[in-house]
Symmetry: C2
Subunit: 349 residues, 2 copies
């Protein structure tokens, strides 16, 4: 089969790799129909993620079950499934207490003997605990829903996690830092949580501003640093927002988050931190909390799935380009150069 | 009147100072009956708090109202009152939303023109918002209750805040880091919250271990650093505790807190941080949250007062010495040298 391989900085290619096969009784083989390229894949692409050349890449996918190990429950060959960006057993203390991202048997795609998500097929360990059924052979999801269903793998639950951890309340003024795919999904999530006013700190990319407003952003601020803080406070007549949601993960974005955090509030964050250290004394006097981390996507998918299937939310609009698996190198280039927000890779027969 | 004055490192004395008088219509004058010496007063005492020589000191007191400004509501001369460690207006957005510690009109005792709490009398600004009545001229609180009532000024609500922010649940295993007065009150608070097993990380002071067990600690660990972590995990058969409550505020204690924090849990903290920086990457993968800060004592007092008055909780046992106001220099010395946990200063006529 074909799969995307990381060869070194700014070099990915589509290569022939061995077809996956059932190795354990809990495995499933899934034929991938659609795969996403994630912002965190760009860390690998840019050579900033300590990933060895030759590694497989990708962790967002949905598709159709083609084979099942003997011990997989609740799934049949032909079922349509979406898969979270980390596999998890569904049975350990963390899985059963709502934190499958800390599953003691789980792991990330593309590491060691585990397939990655940008390819034609994938072996899914712990399929019972990992996969979520989105249709069966007689009721394939409508093709128009595939982009939004694919966001369930990562970016939508990640945005929901940030908003949930920030404790966004109905009618609140919520500040979202970041206009990438996760920040965009956080807008969808904040609107879903009932935020009354959503202010987004983004960059000077009109496509991102337009999408943010489509998703429900009230205002979009393009300044950075001290100017961004001044711009937000001008919008709010000096009142700090009720909630701050951090979807970038840099020292600068966290500095902005803390400066704009309302006393007593919790900064929800989901951007993988790169060199972010917090001086606790900055938080202490104002009772600012910090909550978030790697999203337990598997926990959120069953809750979000009905809303996606009904069309109540349409986070799939974050996919601003659709390419084929063979065009993966172009997909990475477009995302790296910010010429598109997020790419959906289709995997034709 | 007499009041305690900070003269310089390791030098406090009891001096004659001007009697306070009503300056604003919202003021009250309180004759102090009992005052506490706080662990945070020791930062000043040791010259580590950037406090100028000549400053007044102390922020924990209870007593009797002797005079009221024209606009004070709900209080009468002769009322017994306890006062939180920060005064607050009771009317601003933060006061009315449960965070009086961030009151925009409030402040700390002993700064600028504000009296401090170790003296014979004190002018209380915003008395309506600040003071909590604990009895009237016909129903003075029983003298045996005064120590526990005095803990309402600071250490008990501070311990409750740490436990509340950590989200301690019924039946849980809760780790409390610190065996000072706040750590001890956190034990009371964790027991009150229904924790099933309370493990305390303390020092090698048998009086503190004894008090911790009196308050409900299940186990008391005297090791530090890596040895403390090993000792806790040996007690729990390797399982990380459900909740961690940090009551010290040093880089070392926070490092221990993060190493023992269970994925998905929130470290509650109330120790004023001294040089604590957190690498967010340590929190991200495990979804560890941080919550706490300067306790909104005024919010908690009305909730805790009935339990203190009924004897349901007896946090007053943290006062392991009682001295007179004139003996304040000795009180500081005893606390600095850890020869007592906490001193109650009585203020006779």
């Amino acid at each position: 089969m074909k799969a995307v391989v990381f060869n070194g900085p700014y070099d990915v290619s589509v290569e022939q790799v061995p077809d996956p096969r059932i190795e354990n009784a809990g495995d499933a083989i899934v034929k991938i129909v659609a795969a996403g390229v994630c912002g965190s894949d760009l860390w690998t692409y840019r050579g900033q993620a300590n990933v060895a050349a030759g590694a497989r890449i990708g962790h967002e996918f949905l598709g159709v079950v083609t084979e099942l190990g003997d011990q997989v429950c609740g799934l049949a060959v032909g079922d349509w499934v979406v898969c979270p960006f980390r596999f998890s057993c569904g049975e350990c203390d963390f899985c059963t207490s709502g934190l499958p991202s800390s599953c003691v048997n789980g792991g990330f795609w593309g590491r060691e003997a585990i397939d990655a998500g940008q390819g034609q097929y994938v072996r899914v360990p712990f399929a019972t605990g990992t996969l979520v059924k989105i249709g069966d052979s007689n009721s394939a999801p409508d093709v128009s829903l595939l982009p939004s269903l694919l966001t369930l793998a990562d970016v939508f639950p990640t945005g929901v996690h940030a908003v949930t951890q920030a404790g966004v309340t109905k009618g609140s003024t919520t500040l979202i830092i970041g206009d990438g795919a996760v920040g965009q999904c956080a807008i969808v999530a904040a609107r879903r949580a009932g935020a009354g006013r959503i202010i987004v700190l983004g960059g000077q990319h009109s496509d991102r501003e337009q999408l943010a407003k489509q998703f429900g952003a009230s205002e979009f601020v393009t300044e950075r640093g001290a100017e961004a803080i001044a711009a937000v406070l001008e919008l709010t007549a000096g009142r700090l927002p009720d909630h701050v949601v951090e979807c970038v993960g840099t020292a600068g974005s966290f500095d902005t988050a803390l400066q704009l955090a309302r006393p007593g509030s919790t900064v929800g964050y989901v951007g993988l931190p790169h060199g972010v250290t917090l001086d606790l004394a900055r938080l202490f006097g104002r009772n600012i909390g910090i909550a978030g981390g790697v999203a337990p996507a598997r926990k959120y998918i069953p809750e979000l799935l009905p809303e996606v299937l009904s069309g109540a939310v349409e986070p799939g609009a974050v996919f601003t380009s659709t390419l084929t698996l063979d065009e993966a190198p172009l997909a990475y280039q477009l995302m790296d150069e910010r010429r598109t927000i997020k790419v959906l890779l289709t995997c034709p027969e």
